[in-house]
Symmetry: C2
Subunit: 327 residues, 2 copies
């Protein structure tokens, strides 16, 4: 794995506002937490080796078959399992800049990158840019590679219409990654799933070790689906606030905040660097941002923000402006 992922709260103390993760930090998790408190006894037994009970609920929700779903320990396990399962294919391609773990996983299993790579990875909506590839774009990409892996981790953070999972299933060579971590803002639990044809799911399941998904993640997943919980309460308002934050940032001399279709977006800062900005914000304001300079294709001046509450957004804008006024 690379050093320098976002949401690196554990490295700091005194953080009051966290813009560094792509996840909405203010989801109301009180009922889920109360449920988990009542069911903490699940830690006393082994979880299901492969959590069939949750696959069935997910499949039912999408109107697909349970054999077309594999529950994983977060979307990240899905990425590594796919890279592992298809390692004999030997070549891959990835649309950049994007989440670093597609490269990391492929590198680990000896792949080489080529424009016509057998496995093509697409993060949609894309981290860190916030861009979205249309249904037509995905279908076109699927014709140019043996397999197209689409990582839908951020699908609940855009208003842009994306095809439903069951519709995309009909394109035979698309493998979908979904993140309950992101959907419900529970990154500490580690839970996600793959949707693909039954034969691909069988291949992946053979590569997955038993008990990969912990018992509390399974319990949470079942409760969240059973209660039809939504992570982000009002997506329209949240996207509106994202646009307001971008406008405020673009009004600062030396900062550019790029367009996005999600709740997170890239910015550049000049003449100073994102690393310097991050250190300043942590130390002087207790604010954590994502230094995006380690995304392949980006520069030392790139950083990424995820929109938070209006008063927090105002605070980060003021703090960045203050940083640039320092001499």
């Amino acid at each position: 794995m690379i050093d320098g992922h976002g949401d690196d709260l554990y490295n700091y103390s005194g953080i009051r506002m966290n813009f560094s993760s792509n996840i909405y930090a203010h989801a109301d998790l009180s009922e889920l937490e109360a449920h988990l408190c009542r069911r903490l006894d699940v830690i006393r037994s082994y979880p299901e080796p492969s959590p069939r009970s949750l696959s069935m609920m997910i499949a039912h929700d999408y109107g697909i078959d349970a054999d077309e779903v594999l529950v994983t320990s977060g979307a990240t396990e899905a990425i590594y399992l796919i890279a592992q399962a298809f390692r004999e294919r030997k070549t891959y391609y990835v649309f950049r800049p994007t989440f670093s773990e597609y490269d990391e996983a492929c590198c680990l299993f000896g792949y080489e990158e080529r424009a016509d790579g057998a496995i093509c990875w697409l993060c949609n909506p894309n981290n860190p840019t916030g861009g979205v590839v249309t249904e037509g774009g995905m279908i076109e990409a699927s014709t140019r590679h043996e397999w197209l892996v689409v990582d839908f981790s951020y699908k609940d953070y855009t208003l842009y219409p994306l095809p439903t999972a069951d519709k995309l299933m009909r394109v035979g060579n698309i493998i979908q990654i979904h993140s309950m971590t992101k959907q419900y803002a529970i990154p500490g639990l580690r839970i996600g799933y793959v949707i693909a044809s039954a034969s691909v799911i069988r291949l992946l399941r053979r590569q997955q070790r038993p008990w990969a998904v912990n018992a509390l993640a399974i319990e949470a997943g079942k409760w969240l689906i059973g209660h039809q919980v939504r992570g982000v309460p009002d997506l329209s308002a949240y996207m509106g606030e994202t646009e307001r934050l971008r406008r405020l940032l673009n009004a600062i001399d030396g900062v550019e905040a790029f367009p996005t279709l999600t709740n997170f977006f890239l910015c550049t800062i000049h003449p100073r660097t994102a690393g310097e900005l991050k250190a300043y914000l942590v130390q002087e304001h207790g604010i954590l941002i994502r230094d995006a300079s380690n995304f392949c294709g980006l520069t030392p001046h790139h950083f990424r923000l995820a929109t938070q509450l209006p008063e927090e957004n105002d605070a980060v804008v003021a703090a960045i402006a203050q940083f640039l006024q320092q001499k």
Copy 2:
């Protein structure tokens, strides 16, 4: 993974007594559970990509360096990571009968089994037999293979003296697997670790995906080590009860309970099969046992029990006797 692991509680309803897992089912986890209830907010943030804070506590406990410890999502992740990291070695050996996942992991990464295999796997104490290999035996095995992997998952369930982790570190080619799952009777959380030379740990860490260990497992691990909690309160009494249970079983015509140095042991039943016995005990008595017939080298007549409370042990003995009296 194979079908038919133990502790398959999720397949049944109405189980009142569980002898199928090797873990002590009556550990007092109330304080840990209360602590996790208070700290459920950790699910809202990403865990450390590689839980350095916990590695440091474990290393401190053993008097070794944090670079000699890798925290994993249970001992099972450790097994698969080791098989993955050394896959270019291509050959392995395993002492049988034993836990099936060494074979499964090696098979997944294309190994072949040979008596002089590069990677030798030893479960010590051994699942399912309850046997223990001495320090001298381990050192001797380490001279016959490039790497000796010793799985110490059950080390807290024997009175037999085993060398300390730091002492074994001095044998340069031994890789140790430890299970907090087993030590503290928390299999639902998924937490374990590897102890090996810094260069082996570096190799394994490069193969491990980020966020492999969930935030509640890290939180629990830190709390348990910080509070010096013991999983099994009185091991001598527990081993004495294991001997009592074995004697009672051996008094039944048609049952043989084999010697053990741990809290679990193999049995055979004749003329009927372990599968028939398991089905009967579930249905008629709400008792779950481990049908051990799928361990490579064992027969349809083998089953495994882990000692529970005295009244439960009396109940399983009576139920097995009753099963054999049926015509």
